[in-house]
């Protein structure tokens, strides 16, 4: 394992210290317990939006804290959900009296810890709504399983709901919008290499030199199947078809297309992926209205990418375009 770290046990703390040193103009960092919050929180009269999850997915979530996006983010250890006390402390710190939305990715750990925190926050008189994202089409959905994982849509939901909260919408409205974003979004990922959790010290899985893992999770969890590597256009077609078939997306739909790098894939390749996706969607009569291309929800140094499509409506587009000022995503200001 080769990493620019000091001690595997301290990576999250030291990362947070780095964020604090770098972005004190926009965020405040709490080290006990860990969370990152907007420097100007609590914003009175506005809904606060809180998310969190294991570390190792940077810039998600800590990099999305700021005006127009998250009010606070709670980082757990690498790939491990945060604990209830973190989430409770962050929720209390950013609560502006108009309720707090928890955006939670559908992982047992995240759900259980956010649930415990929400119970405690409610006991303290804070109105909390939780919305679960579960957009990963790689996983079969079923009542009898933990269901689908929350992946790329989470980033889009955080942006769109953050803007709605900034615009003064109510907790019920922001939560409804979040559920709609989740319902209208689908994601599929592929890995070319494994990542290495610092504390584990060795790769989470092994892939042959000519293999890829289709349907990879953002923690290096295995996906649908292993396949021989192929040309980018074929891989994209496989991923994009899985995404469009699922909702399904139809001719005439307007979408936000999000091509996301897993951490170790150069931007050069992401544009080659975007090119193939653009062609694929054109062939289906689906119009890309907005796009986002880059490494936004990552798995440490894993090579690979994910494709997220979100069927846009006017409200989503309006909030997507609204100003945002976070270390990881910025426009309009």
């Amino acid at each position: 394992m080769k990493k620019l770290i000091n001690n595997p046990e301290n990576v999250v703390r030291e990362e947070l210290e780095g964020i604090a040193a770098a972005h004190s103009d926009r965020v405040k960092v709490s080290l006990d317990p860990y969370y990152v919050m907007r420097a100007d929180a609590p914003v009175a009269g506005k809904v606060a939006v809180v998310s969190g999850g294991g570390s190792g997915h940077e810039p998600m979530h800590g990099g999305f804290v700021g005006m127009g996006m998250l009010s606070a983010a709670c980082p757990g250890e690498v790939f491990t959900s945060p604990t209830p006390d973190q989430i409770l402390a962050a929720t209390k710190a950013v609560s502006g009296g108009s309720g707090v939305l928890h955006i939670v990715k559908n992982y047992t750990g995240d759900i259980l810890n956010f649930e415990m925190a929400a119970d405690l926050a409610k006991e303290e008189g804070i109105e909390v709504e939780a919305v679960i994202t579960n957009d990963d089409v790689a996983v079969q959905d079923s009542l009898y399983t933990a269901g689908r994982r929350g992946v790329g849509v989470t980033v889009l939901a955080e942006k769109i709901c953050g803007a709605a909260a900034e615009a003064g919408r109510s907790l019920a409205e922001v939560a409804d919008l979040c559920r709609r974003v989740n319902q209208q979004g689908r994601t599929m990922g592929v890995a070319l290499t494994s990542c290495t959790v610092p504390a584990a010290g060795k790769p989470t899985f092994d892939l042959g030199e000519d293999e890829m893992e289709i349907g990879i999770g953002i923690h290096g969890e295995p996906g649908r199947e292993r396949r021989k590597m192929g040309p980018a256009d074929e891989i994209v077609e496989l991923m994009a078809a899985a995404v469009t078939d699922d909702l399904p997306f139809r001719s005439g739909d307007s979408v936000l297309a999000f091509v996301n790098g897993m951490g170790g894939t150069p931007l050069l390749e992401l544009y080659i992926v975007y090119r193939a996706l653009d062609r694929f969607l054109k062939g289906k009569g689906i119009a890309i209205e907005r796009n986002l291309i880059g490494s936004y929800i990552t798995s440490l140094e894993m090579a690979g990418c994910s494709i997220t499509l979100l069927r846009l409506d006017r409200e989503m587009t309006q909030y997507w375009d609204a100003p945002v000022n976070t270390p990881g995503l910025r426009w309009g200001v």
């Binding site: 250890e77 491990t80 959900s81 750990g109 259980l112 415990m116 790689a138 959790v197 584990a200 295995p222």
Partner: protein
Amino acid sequence: MSVTFEQARAFVSKFQEAIAADKEYLTELDSAIGDGDHGINMDRGMRAVLPKVEALPNGTVADLFRTVAMTLISTVGGASGPLYGTLFLQLGTNLKAKESVEPQDWSEALTTAVAAVMSRGRAEPRDKTMVDALLPASQALASGLAAGDEFDMALQAAEEAAHQGALDTIPMVAHRGRASYLGDRSAGHQDPGATSSWMLMRAAREAFATGSN
């Protein structure tokens, strides 16, 4: 014959030692069907628990388990943090009114605690989770005592049931937790949480059996 405060403390520290010793093994199990952190998570939690439990003045077993619970909840994260946290919280709640903890008290507390874990995690038997080790263990303990077995023997039976339960998870297809994302591919691997739960039951046997401590 009753479980003393010192035995409860030994139970916790033996569990900590077992986790530390098998940290990499648990992590490896989790790499196969999860995200490769179960050993790391539990080790971080139990290392945080240890000094807190050692610093406790002699008190009730219930207080000790509540301390374990709160520490696990605030240091482990992941799925196992709230679940083991819930287990110890319920053990504490159940043993709260007890002057002394008799074998039957321990057995009843464990049964209720396992039920709490199942309800928090919405897991049923054969979902390939820690429940598949915990539930048979608590049942073996209860039926052993009901049949008039010595506490030592019942503890031994509980440990064996937990061990067997962990092994039984190998062919199972996971329905809960991260492993469920694999669908059929989760079969053929032993569940990490069931494995750490077996270690928990082993630590209980080591700490509570006669002659120990």
